[in-house]
């Protein structure tokens, strides 16, 4: 990993400590209802892992379980290159923006100041405005510093949240459907930022997304979740899998327009990032089925329930 030797990220020290986040045999129940079970995912530094799946598949719940917010079975382990257990990493989290309370009289600066130190925001003047500006510049949002959260557009709020999640620079970044309701410009800007993070910082990113085209283009690893890991692997592998096509095909038949996914992986910017953990995938990757399916991909039967695909 030459990149690791030469990169100059703020998280350089952390990177030597954390290499792999292992989600082992995760399960979450709400009462008797099984949200998901037996989920195994390994996420590596410098990799973007996309979690896709239909609504109610347990994607957001998985992230919240990783955060430790809801009780779960199974283990979460953070290991270094030699497989040794390390301490808790810094986790950055970007929630689905719709769940934010946007009517609060809180400016972007207030929010940053409250997150960065314990100096009471309501009483004392902010003393680290320059630092906050620097954080916002990273996501091209420096001009938003004095705006109220409620006055931000969806895309702007999203960028502010990403900037927050990047301070302190996390080892593991969790993005929960970060682009739902964001327009085309915001979308491109967001993925530009993601790509920048992938290339320049050595962090592991888990992205929950409905935007299969963007997933196909940017992710190193894709996990299809539906009450458990249905299949996982490179975007190519997952989108060719029969079961993926069945799940998203059904959604498309359910009434919305069919988007073109399934072979967008050809545009993938990085060629197949190698998996360095020996058991890097999920539970089953039905390779045989993929081979059989590979020929009939051209019909592009993918698409997505809420028509988010481009």
């Amino acid at each position: 990993m030459l990149r690791r030797l030469f990169h100059q990220a703020a998280s350089q020290e952390d990177c030597t400590k954390l290499c792999c986040t292992k989600i082992e045999d995760f399960g979450v129940r709400a009462g008797r209802l099984v949200i998901f079970e037996h989920v195994n995912i390994h996420v590596h530094c410098g990799q973007l892992t996309a979690v896709i799946g239909p609504n109610g598949a347990g994607k957001s719940t998985l992230l919240r379980a990783v955060l430790g917010e809801i009780p779960h079975t199974g283990q979460l382990r953070y290991t270094d290159a030699k497989g040794k257990h390390t301490g808790h990493p810094v986790i950055g989290y970007v929630p689905q923006y719709l769940k934010f309370d946007v009517s609060a009289p809180v400016t972007v600066q207030d929010l940053f100041a409250a997150c960065m130190n314990n100096r009471p925001v309501w009483l004392l003047p902010v003393n680290n405005r320059q630092e906050i500006l620097a954080c916002l510049k990273r996501v091209k949002a420096a001009d938003l510093i004095d705006r109220r959260l409620g006055a931000l557009s969806g895309g702007e709020l999203q960028r502010v949240l990403v900037a927050l999640a990047l301070n302190p620079m996390p080892d593991l970044l969790l993005l929960d459907e970060p682009v739902s309701g964001v327009d085309q410009n915001g979308l491109e800007l967001f993925y530009e930022i993601l790509e920048d993070l992938q290339n320049n910082e050595d962090m592991a990113i888990i992205l929950v997304s409905h935007d299969l085209n963007m997933v196909a283009r940017h992710a190193d690893q894709v996990v299809l979740l539906n009450k458990g890991v249905v299949c996982s692997g490179t975007p190519q592998e997952v989108f060719q899998n029969k079961r993926t096509r069945k799940i998203f095909g059904m959604l498309a038949d359910g009434g919305s327009r069919a988007g073109g996914t399934g072979f967008e992986w050809l545009l993938h910017k990085k060629k197949q990032a190698p998996c360095s953990c020996e058991d890097g995938g999920g539970d089953v990757v039905a390779k045989a089925l993929e081979q059989a399916e590979a020929g009939e991909d051209a019909d592009g039967r993918g698409g997505e329930a809420d028509g988010n695909t481009i």
Partner: protein
């Protein structure tokens, strides 16, 4: 004409601060000047955390605490009030965080239980009238000793507010997000709930169960209409609380009305004014 003269007279009396010649009015004024900033501060986060209903149930819990204290006779009424209110607040917070039922249902259940159990115990043996004053409250009855304890509570709340506020703010925006920033949600929520419980318990005898919650909601709600930042939010909330408190007390004195109720009506008036001004302040 007579009415006008009377009004002029009242205004003249107010200006000459004649009402301050009475010891009980001086005490009441001091109490209002200490209680209202307290409510103003807490109000910001009660409103931001959507806890209006929660704080209402705390008053009901305090009622049970009072009755328990009277029946058991182990503690003084104030001690039992404080202990039970804090216990009640922490219990609701805990159940809220460990149950899948919706928050308002859980609070509704406890709120009803609190008031019903309190009334049941108080009416035992037909002695309810003793407690009727807690429903309306009487700020004029405050004693110098109680003023001192009020000052202590004010100091403690301000100190906790300085130490806890940033975390409370992050929590009020989104709890998952707060969790990812290392904020212990149960701890912060618990401390805040306990603090509100203490303030409610200690001031219920002066403000009254029926209206105490309005003081925890109105200043913050009014400030929220026109504030553009956290500092403005706090400044306006405390200002609205103090202004309605002092003017309500004076007005109540001259028109011989219940002070607590007058204060609340003025605070509600401020709320409606800010509601109308909202568009001018916020784009």
């Amino acid at each position: 004409m007579a009415g006008e003269e009377k009004q002029m007279e009242i205004l003249y009396d107010m200006a000459s601060l004649e009402w301050l010649e009475y010891g009980f009015m001086r005490n009441a004024l001091l109490a209002v000047v200490m209680i209202t900033p307290l409510f103003g501060l807490l109000s910001t986060m009660v409103v931001s955390n959507r806890m209006a209903f929660f704080s209402d149930s705390l008053g009901h819990g305090a009622f049970t605490g009072l009755a328990l204290g009277a029946i058991l006779g182990i503690f003084s009424p104030v001690e039992s009030l404080l202990l039970f209110s804090v216990f009640f607040a922490l219990l609701i917070t805990w159940i809220k965080n460990h149950s899948t039922a919706s928050t308002d249902t859980i609070i509704g259940v406890f709120s009803s239980l609190g008031i019903a159990a309190g009334l049941m115990m108080m009416s035992y043996g037909g002695s309810f009238n003793k407690y009727a004053s807690y429903l309306i409250g009487d700020i004029l009855s405050i004693t110098p000793g109680e003023l001192k304890s009020l000052a202590v509570v004010l100091a403690v709340v301000v100190l906790v507010w300085i130490g806890l506020f940033n975390r409370l703010l992050i929590l009020s925006i989104n709890s998952s997000f707060a969790r990812s920033r290392g904020v212990s949600t149960m701890l912060v929520e618990g401390i805040f709930a306990a603090m509100v419980a203490v303030v409610v318990a200690i001031s219920i005898q002066w403000v009254g169960l029926l209206i105490i919650n309005s003081l925890l909601v109105l200043p913050g709600a009014a400030a929220r209409n026109i504030a553009g930042s956290i500092k403005q939010y706090h400044l306006l909330s405390v200002l609205f609380a103090v202004v309605s408190g002092v003017s309500g007390l004076v007005l109540a004195y001259y028109c011989s009305m219940a002070a607590g109720a007058t204060i609340v009506v003025i605070a509600a008036g401020i709320f409606f004014v800010t509601l109308l001004l909202k568009r001018k302040f916020l784009k």
